[in-house]
């Protein structure tokens, strides 16, 4: 067969690469600066400045969102736009879409930077942004996807290199995760309630939260590794075959691992086991990928001495290996019992974010800048200094948080008298014992930030006065082979036989006796049929797979199927179960309007960043906080507030534990009640009025979500709030605390005193209509 090929010159569009790179550096510095500030606040509470928008609870979401979506997001887009064009030998299809993507993304980040400190939040970690911004994120992501797939459709390279696979997985999966976890019903332009509540919300949240790490912070960066590391080392990846196994295993496994964030909680046990098993299996592909990256340098290790790009890449990949070793380790139930809610998790995520993402970003930027501006890097010595400053910074940060986390875990779970008495009953003992480690952590973060400021200066000096240049390449444009299409991709013997084999094998393992036997016979029959079909048709199935690698559409569908399976198996059974039936004998008593208003204040102030509301099935937890949390105790919580970190104690059973005045004085100055506490003061709660006007709409939405509020009027709501508020104020007055019923502190106290209040439900009463909220 003869093919006609014409030679043509392509000029790549590297403008968005430069834009995203600069944005990543700028937002990275902002995100890290906020990180250093909030780390320092944990050592010096005074740095909260008694100011709402500067408190830890509001700034911590700003830090995490800035680092994930602004720093790594922009870095990822720069890498994807640069490498995709070169790997498919085609210019990015639409300059307009590239610019819409860039400016749209920056507008989203700016909106986040304004709304989060104002306390406008959905109250779910890494998913705090309010609903209008959520819609903007989804739209801009679609713009990115269209531009990417349109470029693939116009490519001049038939095959899809493995980096492109990782980008495809990222685009598909992030869209799925983001949309599902952000499903909400608005109550106003800036507020909404998520459609999931309690244990369902917890599962969906960590299915999203874990896979935000997987598919936003890992898979695109692995694609970048598979492109830029060979480029920097000047040699191909160590094993392309291993990269294929790495991709499919990782994409298939990662999506199942989310429940490891909820071990020993109210989450059903089968889901906990699933999360643990799949997390442990992740060890293999993660380390396969890491070794593949490191061994790419075979025979070129000497370059490490002189090339800062390779230094960053090698350290980055090593941190990837370390973090992906630690992740499965932390998913083992007993290890998790020690580490969860402690600073160990903070060490783990920063090994990933600073070491893997931060160093891969730095390596890529140092490699790109001289090429994008056609001028050598301004200072190699400064880049080397950045490397050592950053490396020592990470080590200080991570090691201090390891020590702090293990200390916290051991102290808070330690018992005497055969496990009947807590060894450290005062929670603050764990806080004060680890205080000096907070200083080291802040120092480590500051060093890492200083390194990035050096990078910004170095790249600024490289680019200033230089001419920005786009890469060009001469390619032979071949006549495109006929595409497989979706039907050609899936309606063929290999796919049909393998699907049947999987289905029958699963039936054999999972179904009861007779059905299991039938499935075994069906499996054997299908296997024999497959052999016979191959013999008869002389088909070589490998050709199907090789063609698949040249056809983006069926490949994308196959990737989507891989990630959807994990989502469906976890999410669907948990969402469709009858929550009224599965409450473990207790059912939450719905909030009154004033308590609901107090809860919204709790969410607004980001209390979940430091306080959990989930007593685990562990001796230390039960002795300290009371009976372990049951599934029914949070079924009406939209959003759930189980938290992921205990800088302060758990609050699941806080109601009635202390008098109203305790909360009053504690919120005004925590150290007056709890010497050594690092919690901020909340003076504005004593002056600002509770928003009663919005409660009717909020209750309407809660009713739509299945919370058994009675239909009520605004006047009834106001009266209910007044009555409950006056009772609290009268009680406060007896303890010498003066306020009025309309202040936010009163609503917050009402909520705090409700925590842990539930009704016991006898088995025969499970389906009975639950108690309706008091008016």
């Amino acid at each position: 067969m003869t093919t006609t090929a014409t030679k043509t010159t392509i000029e790549y569009d590297d403008t968005p690469v430069r834009q995203f790179m600069i944005a990543s550096i700028a937002w990275g510095i902002v995100g890290m600066l906020v990180g250093v500030l909030i780390a320092t606040q944990l050592a010096f509470f005074q740095l909260n400045f008694n100011t709402p928008w500067l408190t830890f609870g509001r700034l911590r979401p700003l830090h995490t969102n800035a680092v994930i979506f602004a720093f790594v997001g922009n870095m990822m887009f720069a890498g994807v736009y640069y490498s995709t064009q070169r790997l498919v030998k085609a210019r990015t299809t639409s300059k307009f879409l590239s610019q819409l993507h860039f400016w749209g993304w920056q507008a989203i980040i700016l909106a986040a930077a304004i709304t989060l400190p104002l306390g406008l939040t959905r109250g779910k970690e890494y998913a705090e942004l309010i609903w209008p911004i959520n819609i903007a994120v989804a739209l801009i992501w679609v713009v990115f996807g269209i531009n990417f797939f349109w470029t693939l459709a116009r490519r001049n390279e038939r095959s899809l290199y493995v980096a492109i696979w990782f980008y495809i997985a990222t685009i598909i999966t992030v869209a799925m995760l983001y949309i599902v976890n952000h499903l909400s019903i608005p109550t106003s332009l800036t507020h909404s309630y998520p459609i999931f509540g309690g244990v369902q919300d917890a599962l969906v949240q960590w299915w999203y939260g874990h896979n935000a790490v997987a598919f936003f912070l890992t898979t695109p960066i692995l694609g970048i590794m598979y492109y830029f590391l060979p480029k920097a080392a000047g040699r191909p990846v160590y094993s392309y075959r291993l990269s294929v196994v790495h991709f499919w295993s990782l994409v298939f496994l990662y999506i199942w691992a989310g429940p490891h964030h909820l071990l020993n909680t109210s989450l059903p046990r089968w889901l906990q086991s699933l999360g643990m098993i799949f997390s442990l299996m992740l060890w293999a592909p993660s380390w396969g990928g890491m070794l593949n990256g490191l061994l790419t340098l075979r025979g070129a290790w000497d370059k490490l001495r002189t090339d800062p790009v390779l230094k960053f890449f090698v350290a980055g990949v090593t941190f990837y290996g370390m973090a992906t070793f630690e992740g499965p380790l932390l998913s083992i139930r007993p290890v998790n019992a020690l580490a969860h809610y402690s600073d160990w998790i903070i060490a783990h995520v920063h090994a990933g974010a600073l070491g893997w993402n931060g160093f891969m970003a730095a390596g890529m930027f140092y490699w790109l800048a001289p090429r994008l501006w056609n001028r050598p890097l301004h200072s190699v010595a400064a880049a080397n200094m950045h490397f050592w400053l950053g490396l020592v910074g990470i080590l200080l940060y991570v090691s201090s948080m390891w020590v702090s986390g293990i200390t916290q875990g051991l102290m808070l779970s330690a018992t005497h008298e055969n496990g009947t008495v807590l060894a450290n009953p005062n929670f603050l003992d764990a806080v004060t014992s680890t205080m000096f480690l907070m200083h080291i952590r802040a120092l480590g973060g500051l060093m890492f930030l200083a390194g990035f400021i050096i990078l910004a200066w170095n790249i600024w000096k490289t680019a200033s006065g230089a001419q920005a240049v786009n890469g060009t390449v001469e390619v032979f444009v071949e006549e495109k082979p006929r595409a497989m299409g979706l039907i050609g991709g899936f309606a063929n013997a290999p796919v049909i036989f393998i699907t049947l084999l999987i289905v029958f094998a699963m039936g054999w393992g999972a179904l009861p006796r007779v059905a299991s036997g039938l499935c075994l016979w069906a499996f054997l029959g299908t296997f024999m049929g497959m052999i016979a079909h191959k013999e008869y048709t002389k088909a070589t199935w490998g050709q199907w797979y090789e063609r698949l690698l040249e056809n983006a559409l069926p490949f994308t569908v196959l990737t989507a199927v891989s990630v959807f399976v994990g989502g469906i198996v976890q999410i669907i059974p948990t969402v469709i179960i009858d929550t009224a039936e599965n409450i473990e004998g207790v059912r939450q008593i719905p909030y009154t309007p004033l308590e609901l208003a107090g809860r919204d204040i709790y969410v607004r102030e980001g209390c979940y960043n430091c306080h959990s509301q989930q007593i685990r099935t562990l001796v230390g937890d039960v002795l300290r906080y009371g009976d372990y949390s049951k599934m029914g105790e949070s079924i009406y919580d939209h959003p759930y507030q189980w938290g992921s970190k205990r800088t302060g104690p758990d609050l699941a059973r806080e109601g009635s534990k202390y008098p109203n005045s305790w909360h009053f004085f504690h919120m005004r100055d925590p150290r007056q009640i709890s010497p050594g506490s690092t919690m901020p003061n909340y003076p504005w709660l004593f002056t600002d009025r509770t928003d009663i006007a919005s409660l009717r709409r909020k209750i309407e939405v809660q009713r739509k979500l299945g919370v058994p509020f009675k239909e009520t009027t605004q006047a009834e709501i106001a009266e209910s709030c007044r009555v409950q508020g006056e009772a609290i104020v009268a009680d406060l007055k007896t303890a010498g605390a003066e306020t009025t019923p309309d202040r936010q502190i009163v609503a917050l106290i009402a909520y705090m005193q409700k925590l842990g209040k539930s009704e016991v439900v006898a088995p025969e009463q499970k389906s009975a209509h639950p108690k309706t909220a008091a008016k």
Binding site: P230, G234, P236, V244, R269, V469, I502, M506, N582, Y628
Partner: protein, 57 residues
């Protein structure tokens, strides 16, 4: 130490199903990767090393 009540009994099988689906998929992919023709592997692994003007410094 504390007994966590399972939700609905039939959901136990999902862990087995999940594990089985992965192992089967892994086996198929590993076999496919191992049997990839050497010339295709060579061509694919060298794709990032094809230069444009950015690499002619």
């Amino acid at each position: 130490m504390f007994h966590r009540i399972l939700v609905e009994e039939w959901q136990r099988v999902l862990t087995v199903i999940s594990f089985g689906i992965f192992m089967f998929t892994f086996a198929v992919i590993a076999l496919r990767a191992w049997r990839m023709p050497r010339e295709i592997v060579r061509r694919l692994e060298n794709l990032p090393l094809e230069n444009d003007t950015h690499n002619h410094e």
